[in-house]
């Protein structure tokens, strides 16, 4: 057995050496180089509904927190998913950049790697480390009671970004800053109606099933099509699971069995880019099938410039400025509404070329 143990050790050493070699002399294609997202010229978020109904807001007195100076405070940020897609990368970067900009000395950042139990313990750790303000990008909307209780006991204000927490405003959390996904779906529908002159057959590439983003982006799109363009027929809806490869595969099946399709509504940019690859592979030309998608990543905006994508509704991930601005207002004694809806931009052929560098 000692012989085989020795061999295993040797194998392990070999493997470790191989890993070093692989990462050491890598040389990738240089066309892939792109400027880092979230740069200074990046488009910051703008508030669409700056204040809620009077009296419903949350002031520092009602919340019970004691005022502190953001610059010297411990601030915790809990990210939900691995920073492997442009949205998450830009979101985390924006929080870090803004914290550095306004001089927050002690920003603690965690990442739950898409595991909800990890996110709960991440936030509990942050509270234990003395966080005085929590910014959370929640993986799920439910199941936050253990964290909320701890935070309430210590009177730590919580700002959730991009997804909501189902809990009581002011007692459990300070505010939610995010996009209106139903509205995004409606605006995508408006673009599709414009692209098709209000008539034609449209396919939907749905997001991951059982996700509120998918449900709301579908709902908004269908409502708007039904209300504004009854001559547009939605003939096909299949999930592409928000992934490029799945979007490509489903589109390949789609254009083969429904060659008369006029438009594709992709519920995120990755699936839209997969659809573009599928259309190219099927010998279609840019603009033959009108694609409308949501997110506003750089790849998709470039797709508009190249003529393959008709329009993109943005879902802005740069929460940093707005989150800390809201926190500062709260500390100054201003009333904070339950929900801060941000205004998302829209890209089409008129502005895509100038906006590519600002997309994330």
């Amino acid at each position: 057995m000692s012989l085989s143990a020795g061999r295993t050790a040797r194998a392990a050493t070999l493997l470790a050496a191989a890993v070093l070699v692989v990462s050491g002399c890598a040389k990738s294609e240089n066309t892939a180089a792109s400027p880092a997202p979230g740069g200074s010229d990046a488009q910051q978020q703008v508030v669409k509904t700056p204040s809620g109904p009077a009296g419903a807001g949350c002031t520092i007195d009602r919340h019970g927190a004691t005022a502190f100076d953001l610059k010297t405070a411990v601030v915790g940020f809990s990210q939900s998913e691995k920073e492997a897609n442009p949205f998450r990368i830009a979101e985390t970067q924006s929080i870090k950049d803004e914290a550095a900009k306004i001089g927050i000395a002690d920003l603690k950042v965690t990442n739950a790697q898409s595991q909800f139990s990890k996110q709960i313990s991440d936030v509990q750790q942050l509270i234990a480390q003395g966080a005085q303000l929590l910014v959370i990008a929640p993986l799920n909307s439910d199941g936050w009671e253990p964290v909320l209780q701890q935070a309430a006991a210590k009177k730590v204000p919580i700002i959730t970004i991009d997804r909501k927490i189902n809990a009581k405003h002011c007692t459990d959390y300070l505010t939610f800053i995010g996009s209106d996904f139903v509205e995004q779906g409606r605006r995508a529908a408006d673009q599709m109606i414009k692209a098709l002159d209000g008539r034609g057959k449209v396919a939907i590439l749905l997001g991951a099933p059982g996700n509120n983003v998918t449900t709301e982006r579908t709902q908004g799109f269908k409502e708007q099509i039904a209300a504004k363009a009854p001559d547009i027929e939605i003939t096909f809806e299949q999930t592409g699971e928000f992934a490029r490869e799945k979007g490509q595969q489903v589109t390949e099946q789609l254009i083969q069995s429904n060659p008369d399709i006029d438009g594709i509504y992709a519920e995120n940019d990755e699936m839209a880019l997969g659809a573009v690859t599928a259309l190219k592979g099927a010998g279609k030309k840019a603009g033959d099938v009108k694609i409308v998608s949501i997110d506003g990543t750089r790849g998709a905006v470039q797709g508009i410039v190249d003529g393959w994508i008709y329009g993109v509704v943005e879902s802005n991930p740069r929460f940093g400025a707005l989150a800390f601005e809201t926190a500062q207002k709260f500390l100054n004694g201003e009333s904070i509404p339950e929900k801060v809806v941000i205004s998302d931009r829209e890209y089409d052929e008129t502005n895509a070329k100038d906006s590519v560098s600002q997309a994330y």
Binding site: A11, L15, S28, A84, E245, Q253, Q256, S257, G299
Partner: protein
Amino acid sequence: MTDTVLRRGAAGRTRVIAWLQEYGVYAAVVTLFAFNAVFTPHFLAVDNFRTQLVQVAPIVIVALGMALVIGTEGVDLSVGSVMALASAVVALYLGYGALPAIAMAVLAGALIGGAGGALVAVVGVQPIVATLALLVGVRGLANVFLPQLREFTNPTLVALGSDSLAGVPIVVIVAVVLTAAVAFLVKRTTFGRQLVAVGGNREASRLSGLPVRRVLLTVYVLSGMLAAVAGVLATSRLQASDPTSLGLFMELSAITAVVVGGTPLTGGRVRVLGTVMGALLMQLLQATLIKHNLPQSWTQMAQAVIILAAVYAARERR
């Protein structure tokens, strides 16, 4: 009198099951094909066959390796992660040109396969545990190498994923060649005989002097290399390297193809053509449901029914 009828009935039933084990998957593919030919618009078109074959090619290639491993009474859960690793390595080495990058990716697959094989053959870890560790670890490694999706424009790699030779997509040609190679390996070489013997009865093989460790090690290395090739092909088709999601749940698709194709999980037998048919059946099923615009949950339930039927037929073997 009743006795003989009963006996004849039982014998008939056994015969039916034996026939199903042997040809069930072919019959299912033919049935589903016929259904689509009649009820699915634009099904009988060259473009459609091309789409189905191109989409199934990576699964077939991974399933070939999986069939070899299952033939030795093992299982290789790391294949999906190896695909992701191959994808990351290709993107990292593309600066040297497409061929060196592909070679590095296949080498990486061989190394991971070797690691899994060593754990199984030398250390004696259960295959499911050894390769489960690799499933988790190698995906992580791939993400370390390439944390984010990266697009590429290398013309050779793009051509590999989208060009055709004499009307047949290159991806499909690769899958056909590899299928023939694996079939030859299993049917016509000493190694193939040894593999089946080791899977059938490892102790007896060892006692009769077969190089059990070497056979096991080689089988996992082959599985790793085949998974890496599949990863390269999937990457070239996507025209982007996406180690976060490429090959997710591929191990399950591959095992399904092998089992549905009639290879018993107990080892000692490898059905190469059956495996290809198993993959084709699952692909056709998914295509059918997508083309008829049925929800994905239907696909999953239909797949479950087919897997259960296959396992039921296999249970009656002996």
